[in-house]
Symmetry: C2
Amino acid sequence: MTEKKLEKCRIAVDAMGGDYAPKHEILGAFDALQADPNFELILVGDREKILKTAREEKINLDEKLIHHASQIIEMHDKPTESLKSKRDSSLVVGAKLVQEKKADAFVSAGNTGAVAAVSTLLIGRLKNIERPTIGSFIPSESNATYLFDVGAFVDVKPQHLFQYAVLATIFVSELHGIANPTVALLNVGEEDEKGNKQVKETADLMRNSDLNFIGNVEGRDILKGKSNIVICDGFVGNILLKFGESVPGFMKYLLKQHSEKSLFEKIKIGLFKNTLKQALSPLNPDLYGGVPLLGINGISIIGHGSSSPLAIKNMILRAKEMYDKNLIQKFEKALETYAVKK
Amino acid sequence: MTEKKLEKCRIAVDAMGGDYAPKHEILGAFDALQADPNFELILVGDREKILKTAREEKINLDEKLIHHASQIIEMHDKPTESLKSKRDSSLVVGAKLVQEKKADAFVSAGNTGAVAAVSTLLIGRLKNIERPTIGSFIPSESNATYLFDVGAFVDVKPQHLFQYAVLATIFVSELHGIANPTVALLNVGEEDEKGNKQVKETADLMRNSDLNFIGNVEGRDILKGKSNIVICDGFVGNILLKFGESVPGFMKYLLKQHSEKSLFEKIKIGLFKNTLKQALSPLNPDLYGGVPLLGINGISIIGHGSSSPLAIKNMILRAKEMYDKNLIQKFEKALETYAVKK
């Protein structure tokens, strides 16, 4: 299944991207190298800051791994403007390395909109793809549930949603080893006649294709893992993903409220804390290696601003896997072969 | 604040609506009468079945409380067709009692789409309202968070979303005692320029009105309780609500998975079960008295198919409160006064 490439994958890591940059980026990158030394690391960012942090963290950093970039794109920077206004930012420089074939993949925990926009503009889109898409792993009762799109574009057409499904099918089958992953459309009901014009037209496209389309699923079916791939527009997907990410915090709030009712309950909750944390650990987004930006002519993986070293490590290993498995070429092929049957 | 009416509120309860009908309906209705005997109960449904269940439950039921209806609308019946095909169903007969001013409110745990469609068609809409709306209480870190719309209509225009906000403002201020509840638009980002055309145009309408509009909120802000009222279209709202409702079941699944790892963990989780259940009790939808259908010229409250007696009781008391507080008249007035400033 895996067609190993001869060349080592070169991965450009935006060392200045996340909220804890460059510390988490450096730690995560070195953890990734320990787990799998078979790639070339390029740390993109402020040389002095990276070296200083490495010293503080007692990491013996080879200066040659650093590709200097003087600027930083902040979370509040406007995605499309940053390409012009911050040409020497770690984010722009990192994506440019992929554009210029000096790197094979780009990994960043920076401003999501900016990573998506800059990657798309510099690395370019695959043939016939108008809208790249960002997908997110969703923990569920099945072994793989991915939600596409979670926020790349809010105004889309049925053919874009169809393309998301093709890209997601390749991604999930290659990276989760599921031969023919199920694809469903997120809707307000399971019946074909439910929903708005957009989902009905998309369902028609999917039904007449080689996708393993199982029809509509509802909001309640996602965590049940009813489908390996759940397709929706970026408006719905982004709202849903952020809502889902806020659930553990709300649980914590409810437990805290309850613990304040009596000392006895407080002690009980205190004793149980660790078990609960372990039981709910599949909810930890750091495990899933960021969200891939699919539909561009290269590999770009976007992480949360709050990415831990574990998250950065998993993003890097995910990027390497995408490279080793020739995913970009497989996307191109699938976009042709999965097309709508006449 | 409460302008008590002189006449007793007459509440028609669809006794055959929910999955456990008529048992939960009868039990809930009698619990409601015990909590507040100051309303007239009309149990709409199959006389014999109702009497038989009452006997089984050792409830001394006055037969005069029953309004016979021979048919039942099932969960799989098509909402709009049921009005024609099942004219003598408890659902149609109950809504008709409100239409004919023989009842002041209708409460049903039946087929949500059918209750909404039949109530709208028979009871009629308020002046200038094209789209009635269903709102749901969402447990959050603030004392009142309501999400409108959660599924009445999937294709809406900005003026419909604006009207939802007006109706919700009256509902939340009257029923939660919050003088000037905050209203927010659900969006993919907080900034004004974020989102699709629909939300941008709706934001313009809200900004130029007397609503207490605070701008956009994101998916993660709902459970934080950032706004008392969160407005979205029925497509997004329905998916989000159903996703949220599936979260407790998924937590249970994760705890079960974890408990199977070792006997020790199993015992710990067993010991903690009750505390967790109590802590998460605010998530129980039975507490919130169903979802009101707003924008129609009368009171109609829709419950989950799986409504418990507690849910039915709370739905009835909620209907009574809406009647006692003259909510329908207040809606009409608000729809004029909150209008967009020229």
